[in-house]
């Protein structure tokens, strides 16, 4: 019986004693930190592979473990990385019916050799019935000019046809070629094995009819033959990368052009199914003449393609020949890359540990390791930061001032690469009147929204490109807050105030739904404020909030919404095609509001083919201006991204032309972690080379 008594009274006592002891122990833990940087992450990567992953948790790890041929500098411009040098050029090919006419054309060109410098034309050769011109600068303009000049004899037009067959594209094309030798097919390209696109000499009608008949004869179901373009010539830009030598993978093997070729293969192969493939769809061929040279030929001028080479390279010597299930089991949870930190350990749902890569080509980092801890709750993240369990925290707007005023912390502020907006579904008649959209823009007090929702940590957005990019148009004047003007515009558009305070036109009340997703405080606040602001000018808005998956699948991707609050994250890319071109307004595409402006369409298409920096700035600026004036979205703001670390917990010592420079952690356009490779903890400073230039 004493046993029973002991159990009843003793066990709880023991538990309490253990609890107290454990608590006391926890309070006594030293704050001696290891030479590591710990980051908190809300999500956990699903797989670590830069060509396959799409979640931000994975890209955080990948940015430390992998490297690409190019990278973005601290000012967000493209610069060489694993490729120590790159060079653009272009081959324009004219097709002639005979060798003589080709040579004749060349003769004409030789007489114009004085203009070659102006055209950046380096060479012109005749091969069989083709005249190939080699330009230093890609682009269509020069080629067009030359085409006019040399077309004394008629050239063969080139027709580009896209044929969707669903499967066995390669086999079908080969059969077609054999069956129809009369068509001179000069280029072929395959989208997995489902589609082929060919460039053939001649007019469009004969070949497209032949193809249609061929497919019907072969009983190919659901096929589609589409003539894409009829061109005078083929302009194929070429990028040549010269790779650094002596760069080692984290397992010791040397990095060569073979890895680049393999990465390209993986990006475009059906069995891998990379979601990044569309960025590489315009590549006609990728060749590796030597282990340190990569030559990429594009199918047509497409200037945004250069930025696709910031894509990280994956190791051929590990992954080649293995099926993707092998990748899942052996690589995706223990990757090998070329970056400053290499993979060490992944304790699922707890942390991923990356250790210093001593053979990193740009110099081994000072830190022993970077640890990424999984903390699913945003508040947990902050608590972990305040108890020094993680070393930095992304500050919420309302807490920024408190941290800035607190001397124990260093705060870094920079505009985020996104802009928030309210979208009007332009398929609704109410929103099709420009005056209505302008009225709404005047009615919503964006500066006040920034002041109160963001606590001042943001700037008003003036269009689709955030201001820190080199091609952004910073001359656009934001639409001012003017509710009277808003009312006037609505009156003008025929929407008059009704008896219940809501405007009416032709019997229709000005009332609509504004939806957004759950889990985001700021979006909820925006929705509530917009609702309130619009109510004051006589517009009734009902706010509905949905869980993210439902929001996306039921409303956004089907474009079945009236208006919505959302944000676009924008990489340093000026190609506005996917979101603003009128062809992208169908279900599952990204022109969510259904914007259709032929002038903008043309500008977008032209911009994609423009390589000249000044012209790019001009055209991008114009696109931004026109879209802003059209107000398909109510452009709200670009928030600041604020980070905080404990003061002097880290410093930077990096190499400069003047020697080792020691500075506190500083902000760059590319973020405050740009120099992560050179971060160190001051208590471990003795193990490093002395600083030659010091900034306190």
């Amino acid at each position: 019986m004493r046993v029973i008594k002991f159990l009843i009274y003793g066990v709880p006592l023991i538990l309490v004693a253990v609890f107290v002891a454990a608590f006391w122990n926890a309070t006594q833990l030293s704050t001696n930190k290891k030479n590591e940087l710990t980051i908190g992450s809300i999500g956990e990567p699903t797989k670590i592979n830069p060509i396959l992953s799409t979640d931000s948790a994975a890209s955080q790890v990948e940015s430390l473990v992998f490297e690409g041929l190019l990278k973005y500098s601290a000012d967000l411009e493209l610069e060489p990385n694993l490729a120590r040098e790159f060079q653009l050029s272009q081959t324009t090919t004219f097709f002639f019916p005979t060798n003589e006419s080709a040579s004749a054309a060349r003769e004409i060109l030789m007489t114009l050799s004085a203009r070659w410098a102006e055209w950046t034309l380096r060479n012109a050769v005749v091969i069989d019935r083709e005249l190939r011109l080699d330009f230093l600068q890609p682009g269509l303009e020069t080629s067009n000019v030359i085409a006019d000049l040399i077309s004394i004899d008629p050239m063969s037009p080139v027709v580009q046809v896209r044929v969707e067959v669903g499967d066995k594209a390669r086999e079908l094309l080969a059969t077609f070629r054999a069956a129809h030798p009369e068509f001179n097919i000069v280029r072929e390209w395959f989208d997995y094995d489902a589609v082929f696109e060919i460039s053939a000499l001649g007019d469009s009608a004969p070949i497209s009819e032949a193809l249609t008949a061929f497919l019907a004869a072969k009983k190919v179901e659901k096929s589609n033959v589409q003539v894409l373009d009829e061109l005078q010539f083929l302009a194929e830009p070429v990028v040549r990368f010269d790779l650094r030598e002596g760069v080692l993978w984290q397992d010791g093997v040397e990095f060569t052009s073979k890895d680049v070729a393999f990465t390209f293969w993986a990006l475009t192969d059906a069995s891998i199914g990379s979601p990044r493939k569309p960025d590489f769809d315009l590549i006609q061929a990728l060749e590796t003449p030597t282990p340190y040279e990569v030559v990429v030929t594009y199918r047509k001028p497409f200037s945004p393609a250069l930025s696709s080479w910031t894509m990280s390279i994956i190791p051929a010597h590990i992954l080649e020949g293995k099926p993707i299930s092998w990748w899942d089991e052996f690589f995706h949870r223990s990757p090998v890359g070329l970056g400053p930190f290499k993979f060490a350990e992944w304790k699922t749902n707890e942390f991923i540990r990356l250790e210093r890569n001593p053979t990193y080509y740009d110099g081994a980092p000072w830190l022993d390791a970077v640890v990424i801890r999984t903390l699913p709750d945003p508040i947990a993240n902050r608590l972990a930061f305040e108890t020094r369990q993680v070393d930095y925290w992304g500050v919420d707007p309302w807490a920024v001032k408190a941290f800035e005023d607190d001397e124990r912390f260093d705060v870094f502020n920079a505009p985020a690469k996104q802009y928030n907006w309210v979208g009007w579904n332009l398929r609704m008649p109410m929103f099709q009147d420009l005056r209505v959209r302008q009225a709404f823009a005047h009615a919503v007090n964006v500066p006040e929204m920034i002041k109160y929702v963001l606590y001042g940590n943001g700037v008003q957005s003036t269009g689709i490109f955030p201001p820190m990019y080199w091609f952004a148009n910073n001359d656009i004047v934001p639409i001012p807050y003017d509710p009277d003007r808003a009312r006037a515009l609505l009156d003008e558009a025929g929407w008059k105030l009704g008896p219940d305070g809501i405007r009416v036109k032709d019997g229709e009340r000005m009332s609509f739904k504004l939806i957004t997703n759950q889990g985001n405080e700021t979006r909820k606040d925006i929705a509530t404020l917009v609702q309130d602001n619009l109510k004051r000018i006589g517009v009734d808005v009902q706010v509905e909030i949905y869980e993210w998956a439902v929001f996306i699948s039921r409303f956004v991707m089907k474009q079945e919404f009236e208006s919505l609050v959302l944000a676009w994250t924008t990489p340093p890319d000026y190609d506005a095609f996917q979101v603003w071109h009128s062809s992208q307004a169908n279900a599952d595409q990204l022109n969510l509001v259904g914007y259709n402006n032929p002038q903008v369409d043309r500008l977008i298409e032209q911009l994609r083919q423009e390589y000249d920096r000044d012209k790019i700035i001009e055209m991008a600026g114009k696109i931004q201006l026109i879209i802003y004036e059209d107000q398909p979205l109510l452009f709200l703001y670009i928030p600041d991204s604020t980070s905080v670390i404990w003061k002097d917990s880290f410093r930077i010592r990096r190499p400069t032309p003047d020697g080792w420079k020691d500075t506190p952690v500083e902000m760059t356009k590319a973020g405050w972690t740009y120099y992560l490779q050179w971060f160190y903890r001051p208590e471990y400073a003795d193990e490093m080379p002395p600083a030659e230039v010091a900034v306190p």
């Binding site: 019986m1 029973i4 008594k5 009843i8 009274y9 066990v11 709880p12 538990l15 253990v18 609890f19 454990a22 608590f23 122990n25 926890a26 309070t27 833990l29 030293s30 704050t31 001696n32 930190k33 290891k34 590591e36 710990t38 699903t46 797989k47 799409t54 979640d55 989208d191 997995y192 199914g273 990379s274 979601p275 493939k277 569309p278 899942d328 699922t348 749902n349 707890e350 942390f351 640890v371 999984t374 903390l375 699913p376 709750d377 508040i379 947990a380 608590l383 972990a384 305040e386 108890t387 369990q389 869980e547 998956a549 439902v550 996306i552 699948s553 039921r554 956004v556 991707m557 599952d588």
Partner: protein
Amino acid sequence: MIHFIIRRLLITLVLVFFISLVSFFIITLTPGSPYPWGELDPKISQTVKDNYRKQFHLDEPIWMQYYLNMKGLFSGDLRSIKDGRPVLERIGERLPATLALNVCAIVISLSFGLLIGVYSARNAGRWPDVTLSVISFAMLALPGFWISYLVIIGITDWFGTPMLGTSTYGTIFPNAASQMLDYAWHLALPASLLALGGIAAQSRYIRASMIETLGEDYIRTARAKGLDEETVSYKHALRNSIRPLITGIGGLLPALIGGSIIIESIFAYPGIGRLGYQAVLERDYSTLVALNFITAALVLLGNLLADILYAAVDPRVRLE
């Protein structure tokens, strides 16, 4: 007895399949699809999306999907839609942490529940009992997320002690004992908060049961025989009031897997409750099928176990 067990097991099997089928229907009927990428990412091509749907049978009719998922589950081959890893592995790696947390919580609620229940019963009607009653109900009335946040903020503001996750990171431990205590601390706090409701419930059951027993004839006889109050309470009355404890143990099985979503999120504790919650949000059907099935099986087996233990302990109970 054997007959009974076999019959119940068969019924359990049928029920488990029925439950998992209906749950599966409900989940797949919910709007939303399980894409592991941002649907608003412009770079994902349609072919990739189609391949993905094919790989996970998302375009098949619902009953076919259920069959394929179950087949995968029993062959061990079932893979998570979210990251392609075997589902059983994903569940398995969370098991130790979940087990630790829940076993701890159950131990705490049983031991404190027993203590409070017995003490209240022995002092029934007097002010210690009344106070403890109020306290028990207070523990039941506390919203879990509220008290957790208040505790966490309090500790952070006043002590600055780390308490998230399963261990303190990045610190150099002076010795092994300190590290063990660190694990204990990270376990103790969420387990205690998880156990609050359990303590209250257990103590009420035990108290009621023991009071009822203490009023029985044979107890009066024992007292009349001159046995002291302690012996009467502990030796005789308690033995017969153990029933609630048994129910508690029967409830062990499903609780071992259930976990609490809210506590796990707040404490960043890598448990199964959170896995299930995220799977629902991500529409990870394969993981959900596995979790549902396992949970249902464990609940029903737990009930069966409780009934068997009842019969074993109390000869008056007749199992049909």
